[in-house]
């Protein structure tokens, strides 16, 4: 009979009914209500367990679905020519593992030694090349550190992290000062930290002295890489301190001088572009798509090109071969001072021959839309109907990077010097003298890394002594003029005193003074 009951209620509700419950039910006893409640409880728990199972099943399902998703998204077009998408996201978006400072050099020598497929490097060449890597110098410095650690060994037993935390505020302060340079203080902090870490690593693994700069706490962390929490911790650890585990060498110490834009260009022109044939082939592949692009543009889609390498030449070719018969606009996004306004202006002024100004870009946009009514409506409807095309060209970004204020190119060098002399020549001899004084003083202090600049009072004193000014008001007026020409910078020190600095690097300043002397 319980069977029938079950069926009528839908076959799925299978209840677990314990034997004793059946007994009670059949016996039809009046005084069992309490007992019954208890048994009900049991049933409930059973159901609960079932539910849990169901939930975990659901989760499994979800995971499965996710897998499907990844599989579908990861299904790579092997037949298509680009297989850039074959890499899963996980490979790209992992957190960084902390690296030893000299790892780069190691990799470099490793790469240098891996025999090329075609040319086997001369074995006699190799040692010499590897000797050039900073490893040797590193080794010696680490030896020094090691000696130090021997002294320190018995001193420190505080956990590394705690002490690092104690050291952190100093470092923080240091990093906040806008002007950095390798300040001696920072180096000290760094040094201290190195020592500390060495102590620990020394205590733990006496044999492994090579891994001096790797904090052991991190090493253990990296082992449990799977754990998300640790990854997060790792990330913040990498970013929390301003500790820098890099060597302190600077470009200035290198014998090589900075290149300017022109010589850089010439040098690069001389060296042939690697894999020119392959790059050309790639470009030809993309060029064969031109008519398809045109088709899709006509059908209301828009096209985005992505991938490594400059697309300037490719687009230029597209433009000249396909767009000659239509009005088109080229906007160089890498152009430093490009604005919405300039883009819209060139549309209204040059394309539509409209003379006049607009109150706001939105008004301007409305105007344009009115003029292009029939063209725009469709485009508006499809908003941006982007189609993505991968065009990895490996072409160098010659044009694009030329606007960047590059790190290594001495872009401002010659320009700064010439503008400096130019501006100063238009000033009075007295003003020139004032500037000279400041420049000389700055050069005298060039080895002092913590040189804050010349304080106003001292400067006034010096100027008076040289009969250049007669009151601090005239000096102030002169300084304002300098500041307007961006020749000097003023900085208020911690004690409220005003310090004056020339924001030009020392070599330029020396050149300038030499030239001035010649002129005089």
């Amino acid at each position: 009979m319980s069977l029938a009951e079950c069926r009528s209620a839908g076959a799925l509700e299978v209840k677990f009914v314990p034997d004793e419950d059946v007994l009670r039910h059949i016996a039809d006893d009046a005084g069992v209500k309490v007992q019954k409640g208890k048994s009900q409880l049991i049933v409930n728990t059973k159901r609960f367990v079932k539910k849990l199972e169901a939930i975990s099943d659901d989760e499994a399902q979800e995971i499965l679905e996710e897998k499907n998703y990844v599989a579908v998204l990861g299904l790579c077009g092997e037949e298509s020519m680009t297989n850039g998408s074959s890499v899963g996201g996980g490979e790209v978006y992992t957190f960084q593992t902390p690296k030893r400072s000299n790892k780069m050099a190691e990799l470099a020598s490793e790469l240098a030694q891996t025999p090329g497929q075609s040319v086997v490097p001369d074995p006699s060449e190799c040692p010499e090349k590897t000797a050039r890597t900073p490893q040797s110098s590193k080794r010696s410095s680490s030896n020094q550190v090691q000696q130090k650690t021997k002294k320190n060994e018995f001193v420190s037993t505080t956990p590394y992290r705690l002490r690092r935390r104690l050291a952190a505020p100093d470092a923080q302060l240091e990093s906040e000062s806008e002007y950095s340079a390798s300040c001696s203080e920072e180096e000290e902090v760094e040094e201290a930290q190195k020592e500390v870490s060495t102590v620990l690593s020394h205590q733990k693994t006496p044999a492994k002295t090579k891994a001096v700069s790797t904090p052991p706490s991190r090493k253990t962390l990296t082992k449990k890489k799977d754990n998300m929490n640790n990854l997060v911790e790792e990330y913040f650890e990498a970013h929390s301190s301003s500790k820098v585990l890099t060597s302190d060498r600077t470009l200035q110490k290198l014998r090589r001088k900075r290149l300017n834009q022109q010589t850089l260009h010439d040098l690069l022109q001389k060296s042939p572009l690697a894999y020119a044939a392959e790059i050309k082939e790639l470009n030809q592949q993309y060029e064969s798509l031109f008519s398809k692009w045109m088709l899709q543009l006509h059908l209301g889609f828009n096209i985005v090109l992505y991938g490594l390498g400059s697309k300037h030449d490719l687009l230029e070719k597209f433009r000249t071969s396909m767009l000659q018969d239509s009005v088109h606009l080229v906007v160089n996004g890498y152009f430093p001072s490009i604005t919405v306004k300039s883009v819209l202006n060139s549309i209204t002024e040059e394309v539509l021959d409209h003379i006049g100004t607009f109150r706001s870009p939105l008004d301007q946009l409305e105007f344009i839309m009115k003029r292009f009514k029939e063209v725009w409506d469709q485009a508006k409807q499809s908003l941006y109907n982007w189609l993505w095309y991968e065009t990895t060209t490996f072409s160098p970004y010659v044009e694009e990077t030329s606007y960047e204020n590059s790190l290594l190119v001495q872009q401002s060098g010659s320009l700064a010097l010439s503008s400096l002399t130019h501006v100063l020549h238009s000033l009075t001899p007295n003003a020139r003298g004032i500037f000279r004084l400041l420049a000389q003083y700055q050069l005298e202090n060039k080895d002092n890394a913590s040189y804050p600049g010349l304080s106003f009072q001292d400067f006034y004193q010096q100027c008076r002594e040289a009969f250049l000014v007669n009151s601090d008001l005239t000096l102030r007026a002169q300084l304002t003029e300098f500041r307007d020409h961006k020749l000097i910078r003023t900085k208020r020190g911690a004690d409220g005193v005003e310090y004056l600095l020339i924001p030009v690097d020392d070599s330029t300043l020396t050149d300038f003074l030499e030239k001035e002397d010649e002129d005089v």
Binding site: A108, S180, L245, S247, T250, R256, L267, F301, V327, Y397
Partner: protein, 713 residues
């Protein structure tokens, strides 16, 4: 004229008037990308007509879907408006409390679709309710002044639509000159309504279309993006004047109606008399679109499982946008017709049969090259094989027949799929998916009856209760009767037979229930021995019990459904000539719609061989060859660094690698020269990495750069 300049970033090019005008049409570009020239024109025409069809069909579907919502909105407007017109007590009460009637329109997160909805909404209102509609967007209204400007501008322009054209100049001038305030808005409204009122004898048509003294509807398209201040000011100001002209607000909301209360303080929101309207969820919307566009025989082009999966995944995981889904489908159409020369046969059956006749020899060869056709040929007897492979005429004959088969297959497939969905969608935990699209994908992927999910759903179906089973069967009958398939009469007959059997079963059950009452035996008192005995008997009987009639019938029904599935739901790629109507290059679609630029960059930098097919770049495992392009080497080296990178170390490591790669050819004498070149190359590589955003200059330490990306090791 070059686009390289130090002083300009924008360049305009106009076609020179001297040049002969040879403007190429879209069809020309379609042809140019193709190797087969012959049929491209016809193909393009077919493609365009199909695109148009799909467009109009989807638009119609959307209109139908929105109809309910719009009807509700219109009746809301009518209600709030009639109160104004008749100056009822409710209205006076409302004016006293200064409440503005407001419709909160919850549209869901698929923001990209909202534009379409609002456009059709304003169209509907314009046609039936009022000419005075203003659509406001947050980006146009950074301040209350801009909002009023925009509002007045839009309202006065729509007034022109009603008024005659000679007034246009006057209106244009006034628009710019009139001070944008509420008072001027009211003045304008009074004059506008008065004018139409006075003109009514002459223009009966316009007034009949709109209501008497039509309300002013202000639509805030994206309520969430408006700044609180602007909204507050507007609501407060307009509530002061609500007695003077009938204003109605419509808020477009993407998240939840709670946002009104979090955006507006109580004192302001109490000035609104809000009624909530909910649009259809985007998922239902998509289901309808799929149901009406993809799961019909109406459109000749079909999507393969993977393509559909990509489109659905983009929808579910990226944007929830139905518009984008349709766009993706449109792209499929273009791609299919562009890439497949045989797509010329992808049209309605009659037309396709006609086109088969005029196929060229080349096209016949194309048909012979199709893998599915080759399988078909292999299954034929040898004489037939020779005929198919050599004679175009017999090939054409076969193609005609096969196309017809394919058509019949589709005609049967969709109704049976729907029937199966009726069953699977009511099973617990939905082993074959809740939505019909999931079932469709499963059926397209491989033989669905061989999957575990199918097996388990059949088992579950064997446990269905009677009433459910009967309703399902009835639904199936409905589906099959309404579908045009030719073979369904027999199936319908069979299903109806099942239904009558169930009916009979019920009658016999009732009779038996009256005769036997097993409960009665339990009423007697039993001792333990007796109980044990009865329980044992019960157990025994349960084991050996024969299936009841109902159970037998249930098994029969499920088996019958199973047989239908096996017969009609064969995966499409088992069908000959499926390549003609199925678009199946999912990779192309994914590449164009859901590209992964960072991964492309990553691959190019880590494994340049995948792009530059040069033997020198071939490397095994994760390492790269030292002959890789400069930027790859610099990138690889920078991965080894922490947060900051010392440029000097980097430069030295770089030159070590590069000189080693160049090998012993670099002689010692010119080493200084080489160094300069390497230095320059390094500078280029580093500035390229900076342009790509991998590093940036850092002031923390001299000659250091900061790393900006994480991972990729």
């Amino acid at each position: 004229m070059s686009t390289r300049s130090l002083s300009k970033g924008c360049f305009v090019f106009k076609p020179s008037p001297k040049r002969r005008k040879v403007s190429r049409t879209t069809a020309d570009y379609f042809r140019e990308g193709n190797s087969d020239l012959e049929d491209s024109e016809l193909r393009f025409a077919t493609c365009q007509s199909l695109q148009k069809q799909v467009k109009s069909e989807t638009e119609q579907i959307e209109e139908e879907l929105n109809e309910q919502l719009f009807d509700n909105l219109v009746s809301f407007l009518r209600r709030s408006h009639s109160a104004f017109q008749e100056k009822t007590t409710e209205w006076t009460w409302r004016t006293k409390s200064r409440e503005i009637p407001t419709a909160a329109l919850v549209l869901g997160v698929n923001v990209t679709d909202h534009d379409f909805t609002f456009r059709s909404l304003s169209e509907v209102l314009q046609n039936n309710v009022t000419p005075y509609i203003a659509l406001l967007e947050a980006k146009d209204c950074p301040g209350i002044k801009n909002l009023m400007q925009k509002l007045l501008g839009q309202l006065m322009n729509c007034c022109i639509d009603v008024g005659s054209s000679e007034e246009e100049d006057y209106e244009q001038v006034s628009h710019t000159r009139v001070r944008c305030s509420m008072t001027s808005l009211i003045n304008w409204y009074e004059s506008a309504t008065k004018r139409t009122d006075s003109e009514t004898p002459g223009k009966k048509r316009t007034s009949s279309r709109h209501w008497q003294s039509p309300p002013v509807v202000v639509i805030f398209k994206d309520m969430e993006s408006f700044t609180t201040k602007v909204l507050q000011d507007f609501v407060v100001i307009s509530s002061q004047h609500i007695g003077e002209f009938p204003l109605v607000l419509i808020f477009g909301i993407a998240t939840s109606p709670m946002i009104i209360h979090s955006l507006l303080p109580h004192s302001v929101s109490s000035l609104l008399c809000i009624e909530l309207f909910q649009s259809l969820s985007c998922k239902d919307h998509l289901s309808t679109i799929i149901d009406k566009v993809l799961l019909t025989t109406q459109f000749p082009l079909k999507l393969s499982e993977k393509v559909l999966q990509v489109l659905i995944n983009i929808f579910l995981y990226h944007d929830f946008s139905v518009q984008n889904f349709i766009k993706g489908f449109q792209l499929c159409i273009v791609e299919h017709f562009h890439s497949n020369p045989l797509s010329i046969l992808c049209c309605q059956l009659e037309e396709a049969k006609r086109r088969v006749n005029s196929l060229s020899h080349n096209q016949c060869e194309n048909v012979r090259r199709l893998p599915s056709f080759r399988r078909y040929v292999e299954s034929q007897v040898s004489e037939k094989q020779i005929a198919l492979l050599t004679a175009d005429s017999s090939l054409k004959e076969a193609v005609r027949k096969l196309l017809e088969d394919l058509n019949v297959y589709h005609e049967n497939y969709f109704p049976i799929l729907r029937c199966l969905h009726v069953f699977t969608s009511s099973l617990p935990k939905y082993p074959l998916g809740k939505q019909i699209r999931e079932l469709h994908c499963a059926c397209l992927e491989n033989r669905v009856w061989e999957t575990e999910e199918y097996e388990s759903s059949l088992q579950l179906a064997r446990m269905l209760n009677k009433s459910d089973l009967v309703t399902m069967l009835q639904k199936c009958v409905e589906i099959l009767v309404s579908s045009p398939g030719r073979e369904f009469d027999e199936i319908v007959e069979r299903l109806k037979e099942f239904l009558t059997q169930f009916q009979k079963l019920e009658e016999t059950y009732q009779e038996r229930d009256e005769s036997v009452s097993p409960q009665k035996e339990l009423q007697k008192k039993t001792n333990l021995y007796n109980l044990q005995k009865t329980l044992l008997e019960l157990k025994e009987s349960r084991r050996s019990k024969k299936l009841t009639k109902f159970e037998m019938l249930r098994f029969e029904v499920v088996d019958y459904i199973d047989s239908l599935v096996r017969r009609y739901l064969v995966p499409a790629d088992h069908k000959t000539l499926h390549e003609i109507v199925y678009f199946n290059t999912a990779s192309v679609l994914r590449e164009h719609l859901n590209a992964a630029p960072r991964i492309a960059l990553h691959t190019a930098l880590n494994n340049p061989y995948s792009y530059l097919k040069s033997e020198a770049l071939k490397s095994d495992g994760g390492s790269i060859s030292n002959k890789a392009p400069d930027i790859c080497i610099a990138y690889k080296l920078h991965l080894e660094c922490g947060r900051l990178i010392n440029l000097v170390d980097w430069l030295e490591a770089f030159s070590t690698v590069v000189t080693a790669a160049e090998g012993p050819t670099a002689d010692v004498a010119s080493s200084d020269q080489v160094d300069d070149v390497i230095h320059a190359r390094f500078i280029r590589a580093v500035s390229e990495l900076e342009l790509l955003g991998f590093i940036k200059p850092s002031k923390q330490k001299t000659d250091h750069v900061a790393r900006l990306t994480w991972g990729g090791c």
